[in-house]
């Protein structure tokens, strides 16, 4: 593999802007592609907002901020990905839409580059089948918030080659993250272990064992978490939590993944957490929890 200079990212609605920002910060050229100008504009705003927050905390300088922005190309032109040395797909969507995206990436991108899927639950093996290069397809599970979270699960599908894994892990480490090797399995490690805890926290709340505040404080201080499980759920988005629980429930057929009715009810009521300003807790526009 030649060295990576240009990183392609498909999808500006979710973690894409964060990945682009991080790659650019580490000196790569980043190309962020999405279907619509609106999505790209929102992506640009997300990057600017993140950089501004860092500037405020003295983490970067204004010059560095301009430099990071200048190295990101925002475009609706998928063909821009043809010049990239690795492409990370980070679209929200189901298996079918991802299969289509990968078939398209396979046609556009240089023949031997790695195509990575950012997902927590979908099958790399299955997606790889939609391409002509299943050995060069891998999963890279970034965790939100991308810029701050230190770990990336590097997910091997059935056909992912050792070289692809090694190059991907090295790439992840050049982004300043620690890569953990994971063999494809629903939820990998992080999602599989955190979801039952969140779900159990919701049951504890539902049963009146403790208040939401009490549950989170106990877990936060008891196990040195940055956030308690209920705030974690709010930050992920309760709709996302529900979706992932259902996927794991279906894939494993195990009742421990059955979504707590309280989560379902909150999603129906539009209390999705941080993004709607209210979930188990309330939040302001900057994403700070209100006490």
């Amino acid at each position: 593999m030649s060295t990576i200079h240009r990183v392609g990212i498909l999808g500006a609605a979710w973690m894409g802007p964060g990945i682009a920002e991080m790659a650019s910060h580490k000196g790569f050229e980043a190309v962020l592609v999405d279907r619509t100008q609106e999505a790209l504009e929102a992506g640009r705003q997300a990057v600017e907002q993140s950089l501004n927050a860092q500037l405020e905390k003295w983490a970067i300088t204004e010059v560095e901020m301009r430099l990071v922005l200048s190295r990101i190309t925002f475009t609706t032109d998928y063909d821009a990905l043809s010049g990239c040395d690795v492409v990370i797909e980070s679209l929200l969507g189901d298996l079918e839409s991802k299969r289509e995206s990968f078939a398209r990436l396979d046609r556009i991108c240089k023949k031997n580059i790695i195509l990575a899927m950012n997902t927590s639950t979908l099958s790399v093996t299955e997606i790889a089948q939609a391409t002509s290069r299943p050995t060069r397809v891998i999963g890279l599970h970034f965790l939100a918030p991308v810029v701050r979270t230190q770990v990336v699960e590097v997910v091997r599908g059935l056909k992912t080659s050792d070289a692809t894994f090694r190059e991907s892990k090295a790439f992840v480490e050049s982004l300043g993250k620690t890569g953990v090797e994971v063999y494809e399995s629903p939820g990998f490690v992080t999602t599989r272990l955190i979801l039952p805890m969140i779900n159990e926290a919701a049951y504890a709340l539902l049963e009146g064992v403790a208040s939401a505040e009490g549950i989170d404080t106990a877990m936060r201080l008891g196990f040195e978490f940055a956030h308690g499980p209920l705030e974690m759920a709010d930050r992920m988005g309760l709709d996302t939590v529900l979706l992932m629980l259902e996927r794991l429930w279906r894939d494993y057929g195990d009742l421990k993944f059955r979504p707590c009715p309280l989560i379902r009810k909150m999603v129906r009521g539009g209390h999705l957490g941080l993004k709607t300003g209210e979930g188990f807790f309330k939040y302001d526009k900057e994403g700070h929890r209100l006490h």
């Binding site: 060295t3 200079h5 000196g27 050229e29 860092q54 905390k57 003295w58 983490a59 970067i60 300088t61 560095e64």
Partner: protein, 405 residues
Amino acid sequence: MKILVLNCGSSSVKYQLLDMATEQQLAKGSVERIGMDSAQLIHVKANAASVREVSPILDHTTAVRRVLSILSHPEHGVISDVADIIAVGHRVVHGGEMFSSSVVITPAVKDTIRCLFDLAPLHNPANLLGINAAEAALPGVPQVAVFDTAFHSAMPRMAFLYALPYVLYKRYKVRRYGFHGMSHRYVSERAAQLLGRPAEDLRIITCHLGNGASVAAVKGGHSIDTSMGFTPLEGLVMGTRSGDLDPAALLYIMAKEELGLGEAQAMLNKHSGLQGLSGMSDMREIEQEMWDGNAKAREAFEIFCYRVRKYIGSYAAALEGVDAVVFTGGIGENSNAVREEVCKGLGYLGVDFDAQANSEAPRGQEAEISRPGSRVRVFVIPTNEELVIARDTATLVRQTQPVGD
């Protein structure tokens, strides 16, 4: 005997070609933005207009090859054949406790430089990239590493140990190393020549004042103390670096502002110093603003100079007297206002400052700015780190290859 001097950063290569028969600089230049399609090469041949080229240069090896090709270019070049370059001297920032002088690069030397990545995470990896690039572009040509820390390596333990739990020194080599070694060495040697006395008998305080700034106490030709410490953050107020502060203040700020390690590091290195005090990091701009009546600029200027003066006082104590004070670096060489503010009040030490000679000191040249008969002599000496690198490289190459060029 032509020697190429390289100073490699993570995305840049600065170079000079010197003819060691005359110690003349034949050409110099830089490649910036390595890794991008819009990389830029600027090449200046002595007594000629500069050449600028923009082209994709994706790695350091390509950058060094581009440098070699322009050095041997029929019009812009200064040598007819790349084979005229008999050795390459590299600036390497951190020599740790392993290197107390310059060395010919071998695989073992490279391994040691790699071991020191932890101590200089921004610089040593880039320096090693440059070494590998030069080895690839000039196979068989001897390469020499010259270290920024080496001149300070004879500091006594009482100067380099921090009063921290001793185990931290044993475990992580946390101690004062000092930087700008080539500059302090060059100007202290020049000062000894200007004084016409052997370096062995002299006590010299050298002030390298640039965007990064440090002071060194030089006794008998060796640095016995210097203001930069474990990293180039300690000591003087700098363009964007805080210099000395109470470590507990940092801990307090980190708790209050909920700063992580990276944020705290960036705050101290990139948002502090002159920039933090006044919003301006460039001394020229600060002086301009100060004359225009900007109080913040004046305060930043005074704090900067006061810190230098304090260090001169403390190093006079460390040296048990002082024979000469030297100013160098971008600010030290060019700002007569800074020199005057620093030297103001050093009369008790024996400095008889010559304000007129100071304000008339010609740019880019050596000058004495103390009055005749001054007990402590004060000099402005433009630094020449490349010449130090080239000289060490030439000396080592002669030793290892004694049979002619």
